[in-house]
Structures are given as structure tokens and as C-alpha cells.
């Protein structure tokens, strides 16, 4: 007799150890099989056990959603309507967009789920992990999915809770995009740091019934302005002046012409001494020759090269102006990199 009792105790212990060794996923699968076998009591026990896992032995979000759905259906068929509603509410708080498959669950399950969904005020938040705001039209886009239509407030806060900007106040239905251009309430680009995008769902009495927060890490991109274009190298410029000549040719030309004026009367009009008036021309030619002599000894400008160099400088100046304009635009816009972290529930009933 004692021997039989010992063997029985050993078997029970082994079975209990085996049961404890089951993973939550395995328990969930066992519970779903029991539900499908219409063994609702066993199903409820197994699913609750799966959902109650802790630490490293917990279900994933999708597993919890699936478990809660089957738990709700199980409790409904066990005539525990409140428990069923509670399970569905927990499901919707995890995934407000979830809907039961009507091919799998009977209409009474879908109907209860719909009732619970309409009575639940929760919002799911979806956002790209990384968003860059580099141009004037860039925005951080946060998609909000509500279980049912209800008023919400979307605010941006610093990590210490200080309000940075209210992004949205109003009703939220099925889905709602909320945009942030990276600026504070006064229009200046946001500083680097940790922010919290907070979504408050309000009840029919205006009280906040649930809040979720999306932690954001904002980094401003400093030093990403365009560098100044380098000025044209000295080798690109052409010489603007040619070396001065001797100027002798100018002097000779002027003096020869002046001498011609002096000699013309005797060459052309023999017997005529010529009038003194012509010495005005002689003087002008002599002065012109001397001026030419002086002028040509100085470096002579090369108009084509001066024009080419001016065009080169103007091209560079236009590039500088373009960079200045672009950098000013970037400073006004503020270049931000926004990294979104996991959404967390801040307040819940």
C-alpha cells in the first residue's frame, strides 16, 4: 500500500513538473484546443495560465491578443459576460484596431466585441522609427488609431513634463494623422533632447480616461550647412594688364605729324611761308605724342581679360549668395532627426 502511494505521488509530481514546464504559448495552444473541443472550463484555465506568465515566460503582444480573444469567447460561452467584456477591453487596449475573424467566431462573440469596442476609449500610436526634417515641408507623421470616436488631446512635452506644443485637440475616429514640423509653439526649431508625444483620450465627461506616450529623441543637425565655395584659384585669372611698351612709337607719330604740319606749306605751296595758325595743330600733335609716350609706358589694360575675370568673380559671388541663401533657409527650417521609441501607457483606468 505504501509502495503504491509512493509511486502515485511520484507520477503526480512528474505530471505537475511537466505542467509547470509548459511555456505560455503551449498553454495558449492547449487552451485554444480545449475551446475548440467545447471544454470551456479547461480552456479558460489554460488561457488564463498562459496570460499570467511573467518574466521571460510571457506571451508576445500578438499572443496576448489572441489569448484574450479566445478567453473572451470562452467566458462568453461560460455565461461570464463581464469577464468576457473585460478580456475584450484588455485586448483593445493592446491593439485598438483588432477585429475578430467572423469566420472563426460566432456572431455573438463579434457582437459583444463590437459593444466593448464602442465603449472603450483608447488610441494606438504608429510612427516611423526615424524621421528626418531637413526641408521646409518635412513633417513627423504620427498615425493615431482609435477604438471608437472620442475626443483626444495630442501634446508634445519635454521630458520634465513642460508643454512644448499642442499638436491636436478634437475628435479621433478610425484613424488620424498628426503632423509635427519640428518647431515649438513659438515657431523656433526644437532643441535636441528627449520629448514625449502624449495622447490623452477623454471620456464623455471630459475627463482623461487613458493616456499613452510616445517618447521621442530629437537631435538637431548642427554644422550641416553648406560650406562656402572656394574662391577661384589665382591660376584661373588672366592678367588684366600687359606690360607697358616703350611709347616711342606714339612719340614719333606725334612728332612726325607735327613736323609735317610745319613743313606742309613749303612742300605744297611753294612761295608760301604758311600761317602761324598751324602751330596750334603742331602743338596739339606734339602734346598728343608726349601723352601717348607717357601712356604707353604704363601697363596697358586688357579689356577681354578684365571682362573674363569679372565674369569669374561674379560666378563665384553668385555661388556664395546661393550658399548663403540655402544656409539661411536651413537655419530657419531646423534640421532634425527624430527617433521614436516604444509607446507606453501613461494612465489607464
Amino acid at each position: 500500500m505504501k509502495r503504491t502511494a509512493a509511486v502515485l505521488a511520484l507520477v503526480v509530481g512528474i505530471l505537475a513538473q511537466a505542467a509547470r514546464a509548459q511555456t505560455p504559448a503551449e498553454r495558449l495552444a492547449r487552451g485554444i484546443r480545449a475551446y475548440q473541443d467545447l471544454d470551456y472550463d479547461s480552456a479558460a484555465a489554460a488561457i488564463r495560465g498562459a496570460l499570467a506568465g511573467s518574466g521571460r515566460t510571457t506571451l508576445s503582444d500578438s499572443g496576448r491578443v489572441r489569448g484574450l480573444l479566445y478567453l473572451g469567447a470562452t467566458e462568453l460561452f461560460r455565461d461570464h459576460r463581464d469577464s468576457a467584456s473585460a478580456a475584450f477591453r484588455r485586448l483593445l487596449l493592446i491593439d485598438p484596431r483588432y477585429r475578430p475573424d467572423q469566420l472563426v467566431f460566432p456572431p455573438e462573440v463579434s457582437s459583444l466585441f463590437q459593444d466593448v469596442r464602442l465603449a472603450t476609449r483608447a488610441v494606438a500610436v504608429s510612427v516611423q522609427p526615424v524621421t528626418q526634417i531637413t526641408a521646409a515641408g518635412d513633417r513627423l507623421v504620427v498615425w493615431l488609431y482609435a477604438t471608437s470616436y472620442h475626443p483626444i488631446d495630442v501634446t508634445l512635452q519635454r521630458a520634465n513634463g513642460a508643454l512644448v506644443r499642442t499638436l491636436y485637440q478634437g475628435g479621433a475616429g478610425d484613424s488620424l494623422p498628426v503632423l509635427w514640423d519640428g518647431r515649438t509653439a513659438i515657431g523656433s526649431p526644437a532643441d535636441s533632447g528627449h520629448y514625449l508625444l502624449r495622447v490623452d483620450s477623454r471620456g464623455s465627461d471630459g475627463q482623461v480616461v487613458r493616456s499613452v506616450g510616445l517618447p521621442l529623441e530629437v537631435a538637431t543637425l548642427r554644422g550641416d550647412s553648406l560650406p562656402w565655395p572656394p574662391p577661384p584659384g589665382a591660376t584661373l585669372f588672366k592678367p588684366e594688364h600687359a606690360a607697358g611698351g616703350s611709347g616711342v612709337s606714339a612719340l614719333v607719330t606725334g612728332l612726325v605729324a607735327a613736323a609735317t604740319v610745319v613743313a606742309l606749306p613749303s612742300l605744297v605751296a611753294r612761295g608760301s611761308s604758311g600761317s602761324g595758325d598751324r602751330f596750334a595743330v603742331v602743338g596739339a600733335l606734339g602734346v598728343a605724342g608726349i601723352l601717348g609716350f607717357q601712356s604707353l609706358r604704363r601697363p596697358q589694360p586688357i579689356p577681354e581679360n578684365i571682362a573674363a575675370n569679372l565674369a569669374l568673380r561674379l560666378t563665384w559671388q553668385r555661388q556664395v549668395d546661393s550658399v548663403r541663401t540655402e544656409n539661411a533657409s536651413r537655419r530657419r527650417t531646423g534640421r532634425l532627426v527624430i527617433r521614436a521609441e516604444a509607446v507606453r501607457v501613461l494612465e489607464a483606468p
Binding site: 606725334g254 605729324a257 606742309l264 605744297v268 605751296a269 596750334a280 595743330v281 598728343a288
Partner: protein, 212 residues
């Protein structure tokens, strides 16, 4: 006198207006005044006159060729003898075989008008002119000589010949179509048998527009 000069300038301006800016490049107009001295020497004596004349000139360029017309008119007051009017006009066809040399030929008419008598000269002349820059694009000097290939005069014993020359400078304003010239001109015409020589000297100043 001024009216006739204006007519010459106007006659040359009309085609320039029709040509617009392109015409201004192909047309040159200038007008000014000249201080003239006339000296006549004859075996029986001579006379000397001086005065101011107004002048106008128009040149129309076609490629390396040009047509040049000029007109001047002035009153010469005698040092000795009777006063007379000098009327001078010419039409030349010019060519520029090289940039520094211009050749011209054409009729040159000159009349000395005194009450009751008008002495008319008709000369067919050939000119050669050399242009040299003193300061390129700004100051040019020029020297010109000419010879009458044939000449007639309505005074006995008839024309023997004529020749002349001129030298001066042209000042061009920087990047402007305006320019100015100061020129000394002298020519001498002879009657047959050395009966008389007539010498005309002038220092002229003119302001011009356009041209090359």
C-alpha cells in the same frame, strides 16, 4: 551758309536713321569751323584774305569702301583788296586697302564769289592718307597729300594744276561714338604760265559722330 551745311548733314543722316544702330556704325558725320587764310600771288601783285568758314562732312562706309561728301562756306575778309565768299565742296570715293592707308578720288569744286565775278575751279583729285594711332582707340594722327589729276577754271589763261596736303589728329572719347578732329589743311592752285597762284590754308576743328 549754316543752312546749306545742315542740309548736307541732314541728307547723310536720313539713311543713317533708316539703318538704326547699324547705320551709325556705317555712317560718320562731322561739322565744325575752320580758320581760313587765302593768299593770291600774281606777277602784278597779290592779295591776302582771311575769315571763318563753317564746314560739314558725311561719310558712308560699305565694307572697305566709303563715299565722302563735304561742304564748307565762309566769308574771307581782305587784308588788301575786295572781300569774297569761298564755297567749297567735294564728293570722293574712298578705299582702304590696308588699315593705315586710305586712297580717295573724286571731284572737288571751289568758287570764289565776289560781286559781279565768280571764279570757279573744278578739280579731279587723288588723295592718299596715312593714319597712325598715338594712343590706340583714343588718339590718332593722320597725314594726307593730294594732287589734282585735272583741273579747270573759268579764268584765263586756265588752270595749270593744284595740290595740297593736311595733317592733324583725331580724339575719340572712350566707348563713345563722339570724336573730334583738329587738322591743318593747305592747298595751292596755279594758273597757266604761272600767271597766278592761289593758296588756301585752314585750321579746322570739327566734332563728329559715328564712323570707324
Amino acid at each position: 551758309m549754316i543752312g546749306r551745311i545742315a542740309a548736307v548733314v541732314l541728307a547723310c543722316t536720313l539713311p543713317a536713321g533708316a539703318l538704326g544702330a547699324q547705320g551709325l556704325r556705317n555712317l560718320s558725320l562731322d561739322a565744325g569751323v575752320s580758320r581760313m587764310r587765302f593768299h593770291s600771288a600774281a606777277s602784278g601783285g597779290g592779295e591776302a584774305l582771311s575769315g571763318i568758314a563753317a564746314l560739314g562732312r558725311a561719310r558712308f562706309f560699305v565694307g572697305q569702301f566709303s563715299i565722302e561728301t563735304s561742304y564748307s562756306e565762309g566769308r574771307l575778309v581782305p587784308d588788301t583788296g575786295a572781300a569774297r565768299y569761298l564755297v567749297d565742296g567735294s564728293v570722293f570715293l574712298a578705299g582702304r586697302p590696308v588699315s593705315w592707308l586710305a586712297l580717295r578720288a573724286g571731284p572737288h569744286l571751289r568758287a570764289y564769289v565776289t560781286p559781279g565775278v565768280t571764279e570757279r575751279w573744278v578739280m579731279w583729285e587723288a588723295h592718299a592718307r596715312v593714319d597712325r594711332p598715338i594712343i590706340a582707340g583714343m588718339l590718332d594722327a593722320h597725314v594726307e597729300a593730294w594732287l589734282a589729276l585735272s583741273s579747270t577754271v573759268n579764268v584765263d589763261p586756265g588752270a595749270l594744276g593744284a595740290r595740297g596736303g593736311q595733317a592733324g589728329l583725331i580724339l575719340r572719347l572712350w566707348q563713345s561714338p563722339l570724336w573730334a578732329r583738329l587738322t591743318y589743311v593747305v592747298d595751292q592752285a596755279k594758273l597757266k604760265s604761272n600767271a597766278r597762284t592761289e593758296t588756301v590754308e585752314s585750321v579746322l576743328f570739327a566734332i563728329g559722330l559715328g564712323g570707324r
